[in-house]
Symmetry: C3
Subunit: 223 residues, 3 copies
């Protein structure tokens, strides 16, 4: 599956698109706080590649891809530069950004999980690492900008779709290990998983579906 993800031009294209979009949203977050160009670039890079950085540190695949892959790094710098100029337009395209951000969420979840499985981790560890890849970049950016991370603050579904995507990726991988699918079917399955993640995320925002908090109780039952 890792092979499928890496060798395919479609997937590589979507990955660059995801990095570009997350770079834009990271840069925009820094612009809205009024920070300078260096901080804008830093936040774009962190948002797009920070999750993979975290995953690679946990896997021991060092130095991490977020500081070694020239194509990825240049893409984040390029998206930071776009954000510096085109921030009023990006802000306006709210729904486009939500959809492309969700695309990145799905793709990084599938990609992170598949990379972990290719390194021989258990399914649970792969799910953790897939979620780190999808969630850690935005989380670290929010902490840098002095906010409580969006995935903690916002009750819309964001971690849940990435979780679903990671579980489905593990299942698809296990199925292919047992010879249930050939390589072509795996790729189709991967794309379907990304679509599922995007759908859950976008529908959650569109219909304002939120996660419940703790059970609200006031009476204390203690001896």
């Amino acid at each position: 599956m890792q092979v499928a993800l890496e060798s395919n031009a479609v997937f590589l294209g979507i990955e660059y698109l995801a990095i570009l979009c997350w770079g834009l949203s990271g840069g925009l977050a820094a612009i809205q706080k009024g920070y300078d160009i260096f901080s804008i670039m830093l936040c774009g890079w962190l948002t797009a590649l920070g999750g993979g950085l975290f995953r690679d540190v946990m896997l021991g695949d060092l130095p991490p891809v977020g500081i070694t892959d020239k194509g990825f790094v240049l893409t984040t710098l390029f998206s930071g530069a776009i954000a510096v100029v085109a921030h009023p337009e990006i802000r306006q395209l709210k729904w486009t950004m939500i959809v492309v951000d969700a695309l990145g969420l799905g793709l990084f979840a599938v990609n992170g999980t598949a990379k972990a499985l290719a390194f021989g981790t258990s399914g649970m560890t792969a799910i953790f690492l897939g979620m780190f890849t999808a969630l850690a970049g935005g989380l670290i950016r929010d902490i840098f900008l002095g906010d409580v991370p969006m995935i903690i603050r916002d009750r819309h579904l964001y971690a849940i779709p990435s979780f679903v995507g990671c579980i489905l990726t593990v299942l698809a991988w296990r199925g292919s290990e047992h010879g249930l699918f050939d390589m072509r079917s795996e790729m189709v399955l991967d794309i379907l998983i990304v679509v599922v993640v995007v759908l859950i995320r976008v529908l959650s925002v569109a219909f304002n579906v939120t996660m419940p908090g703790a059970v609200p109780r006031t009476h204390v039952y203690l001896p």
Copy 2:
């Protein structure tokens, strides 16, 4: 000693208890801020296993135990689920929580130091790694929730007892290397170290013992 810690049912039981309790206290912190179930689970997991995660990254023992050990992860999820329902009761049992939290502090300090020594680090490095194990989880949780970490903000003794526990663990390890104790004595010593840590911590809260800050001075002596 690592062997002693791992192979012994009593220690394993206390370790699960510590993880359960730290998972509860982490979940409670997220509940008090009004966050959703995912954030509650995340904070429970981070508080209980984030310190060990940090230690394993520093040691290069990857992927870290906090994302590979199914028993530990399930325990944190279980404690998060308890917190979601039983938060009013947990809040009420303040002193029980302080004692069990101190138990976790002592046990993670001993456990982290012993693991580092078993990896062949120097005594100083092992003390650092023991303190990381004991302190990093709560620290990262506080940053995620937008607070200045409790170990920085609170002047009650919290880091100091873990520091004492780490030093004593190194001394006990060195003693056993030189043939001063057999394996049974080591285990007794380990338990005694945990008791010492718990006592320092609990007495500090009970009698309001605090650490001093910088020397208060107003006059500046400069040429």
Copy 3:
């Protein structure tokens, strides 16, 4: 170059001076917030050695030098102790601190980049790791103390001089690989790079040179 940096008494002296100074400035930050002695020591250590810790984790050189080198660790504890007593004087010596801090910035940038290159990374990865070494310590300290990191908040040049220093170090290294300089010239070049970094930083503060932010625009061009 790494060899040049390590084997030379002058460089080693400057490195200890940089660690001492960053330890002082980290301790001072904790004192100004009114925290206790443990937090002062922690912040001093983090500021001085946190950047190198981060670099070593990324390089996979574990356990990192920040928890294994006794001389470095004792120096940070010593500088924390000085800050506890002499904080009114240190605060007064504002310009001395800015210059010595800039000295640390330049030296850690050169040192971090050279270490990465000695580990066989590409130039881009080495620049990232040099900047991590120079910037990550202060960044983590600011997050611990609940501030938006200074390098994000402050528009004076701070990341830029470290970036310039890292690029120049890579160029000097490449030149020496191609036999353009001998070892003595490398050392002189290294010192010149540090001087350039210090000059950019200090002049930026003195003449209030700041980085621009995003292009200010109000009209949105969208179909």
